[in-house]
Amino acid sequence: MELLKKYPKLFQWFFLLIVFFALCFAIDVPETYKFIRVQAEFIKDPNQSTYTLFGKEVRYYAFDVLWRLPPLLGWLPIWVNDSLFFLLNEWMPMEFWNEDLQEYKTRPLVLQITRNITALMTFLIELIREILLGGVKTVVAFTSWDWIDKNPWAEMPGLPWTIVAAGAVILGYKLSGKGLAIFAGLVMVYISVFGQWKPSMQTLSFILVAAPLSFIFGLTLGVMAYKSKRVEKALYPILLTMQTMPQYAVLVPAMVLFGIGDHAAVIITMVVAIPPMILLTLLGLRAVSPEVIEAGKMSGCNNWQLMTKVLIPTARRDILIGVNQVIMVCFSMAVIAAFIGAKGLGWNLLLALNQLNIGLALEAGLCISMIAILLDKMSLAWANKQEDYFGNLTFFQRYKNTLFFAVAVLIGIILSYVGSFYLKDGYNYLYEVPHNKGISTAAFWNKGVDWIWDTFFQTLKIFNTWLITEVLQPMRALYLRMPAVATVVLVVGAGYIIGGIRSALVTAGLVLFIALSPWWDRALVTTYMATFGVIASCTIGLTVGTLCQQNKYTTKFMLAVCDIFQTFPSFVYLIPVMMLFGVTDTSVLIAVIVYATIPATRYTIEGLRSVPAGLHDAASMSGVTKFQRLINIEFPIAFPHMMLGVNQTIVFALFMVIIGAFIGTEDLGQYILKALSDKAGGGKGLILGICVAFIALIFDNLIRTWVQKRKKHLGID
């Protein structure tokens, strides 16, 4: 009894578990139950039950309500899809002049609007692309295809790579000095020498449109949410869902609305990149202390000045993290966007993988990572740069960078001109190293993969068989064995114990949405894989993070590794993993662990870093050993922050489980993949995505609430 009084929560948890297991044992598996491999709507079967709601017929296999809830939300995806179709194909048809046919054509309004938006996007992308690579479309936009056909001289030539590289170096130098300049130079030379120039610039051109637009929209919406509680309340649930929704699920609706091509890629990238920007802007603005605002008001700022001159500069740190996030997200979308028609590195990477050319895919993937890190560093340096208002500079000092760039342009043009004489029969390497004509290390990497295969295959196979038969299959079976009621009770109970009635209600809403959708079984499989991935990732991340944090240099090194892996397209290692472990859950989980360990490591390092130095000293003075300090002081203090890392790990793990559909899974991800080519895919993709997001949000809610309470308890809020 003493124990109970001391730890009331412990008793509550204990009670919850007893109820959960009692339910599990009390409710038997129905005899007719079998894991539904096939979605019920695809086969007509006399055993199925049906109901009709809102004019949509839903077919499903009925079980005892305690075992599996009926899919009462089954009409939702069909309904969403039909609405989308109606909006795009039938709503408000209007006459639009078609210049090609010289006649009026009827087109629905929304289709016309979306096509006009995409025309604008396409123009911006092509403009940047043609400055970098040359082309005719920008000129065509002002004239016509017939005109350009008669005036071929008007074609934009595109910049030689030497000039772009020199420009990047000078920009790097201007923004933050020698270090960044050297890095910029190395990245550009790498891209060019390895023959990735053209695809890199193609990727860059759509990101250079997507990133600034995301930044502007994100900042504006963030400010609006800061100013108005109503906007914030309306935005918040959408933001949370968007942040946890697998990027992949947005593809289908985006494709339905905006078609395929680079413009659609820009739009989907923006959809994914804006939410973190909004949240971080809001976070930053909130943290501005009232004194600062008072001071601004006292100096007579109007609202606009207060925002631009006081609030935003003060909140700069968080806004900068937002910029960092925008850039990282944009590049992580480079490959996924290739599924809906983005040209460039992402597409080349997918093509290389289709030929199982891992080396080639690796080179393209590295390019994506390097450009991402370069842009990230540049934008950070730009934002941190202080304008020198008072320096009394000579003309040369003031404009030296412009002058250097002008010289570089001149040299670049001369070089490529000279090159066109000397390298006449082959390729003009001084202008552009053509795709796949540069140096390639592909053969080396492919040999490496082969070597690993030959050396470790037998060992790996034994491990793989053991893991699947002894761990994964039983775990999956256990998850599927849970009656729906028991799961709901467990989740809602956890919500109640951690966060009281409010949390209980929120989690109940989320879990019921999934349980009432037609995909409960699939969601269980997704959760099983995510659980395994998260446990493994957290273990690795915690260990590695703690070890690296002991030393300044290893910390730096580890964070850089995290940067690379976060932007490095995961598709590249899906293939070698698949060759080693076959089309099995093991392959998916390895990919999950590689990806999800990043946030676990990062947050561990940051959490331990945030322990105040004063505490370290105090501890050392009281004579604890390094190990004792770690266990008794640093961990408890850093734990709330590390738990946020776990939260991120869950989101990352879910993303990767969904992408694991490319290896072959039987979970929600496979259905999202399927929705891409489904007639009624738009609605299904979206609702499936929401289901995944809700799984993440359940954990998110529980962890966040717990962290808040814990922080209050420790007094470090």
Binding site: R37, V38, I43, W97, E99, D100, L101, L111, N116, A119, L120, F123, L124, A141, T143, S144, W145, D146, D149, I216, M255, G259, I260, G261, F339, G341, A342, K343, W347, L351, N354, Q355, L356, H435, N436, W453, F457, T465, I468, L472, Q473, L574, I575, M578, M579, L580, G582, V583, T584, D585, A661, F662, I663, G664, Q670, L673, K674, L676, S677, D678
Partner: protein, 312 residues
Amino acid sequence: MRKLISLLSAIVISFLSFTGIALSADSKKPIVIPTHNWSSQVVMAYVIGGIFKEMGNNVEYVPADTQAVYESIRIGDVTISHEVWESAFGKSFTTALDKGGLLDWGDHEARTLEDMGYPNWVAKLCPGLPDWNALKNKDCAKNFVTPDSGGKGRMLEGPQTWHGDLIPQRIEALGLGDLWTVKFAGSADALWAELKAAKKEGRGTIIFNWTPNFTDGAGFTFIDFPPYTAGCRPEDGGDGKCGSPDGYLKKAVNADFPKTHPKAAAMFKKLSFSTGQIGAMASLVDLDGMTHEDAAKKWLKDNKKVWKKWTK
């Protein structure tokens, strides 16, 4: 302000770009050709693009999803499709055809087959193949067991996107369900990875594959299931006890294409590739390691006689 200006100018531009003069000759507006993620299709895209260019047209390539592309053609985002495989994309194609806006633009000479099959070295693991009755043998099935297949032989089907549950239904209908299970791979890459891994290991594997494909060269045999008859598939109301049909390889165009580009459309109607030609295009990339563009250029240069006659 600057953003506003650029927005305004872009609006002006988008209007300007819609003014032009229609001619009886082909419009100079680019013909949009989709590229998918397998070699023969991409090379053929560049080959057809090359012919269009030779005729004075402008061409643009856009990566596209294999199923969604028909909707894109219908709406007009993409102009043509040059590889419509009956078994895999026939359904999406006919759906778009019925909705209107897309035209059936004739067949290639090549016929296609998409079905379950095995690389030739596997034949000795299961005596009696390629006859499907060999699969009824327990000793055969046990050579294809994997850790996660629950003691049954495993067949690796392509992604569910390709033909839904056709193969599992067929396996059940043929009474092979007790011995065999079907696993869906997530992508074509997964199939090739499986093929390569199985070869290295020398173990048995049955995967979904198609011809013409680059695997033809290394020796790949399709299983002889009971022959296809119209309406034998469950989705058409049949019992599902049949293999895949000898399928067409069609071409499709946007309905406006013949009006805007009459000459190019006429050429595309005549265009027809044989299995051998398609295989040759694919092998330039898959075996000789050329880039897709270079392979197309080489093919066009070497086969002038073949394609020149279509342009007349």
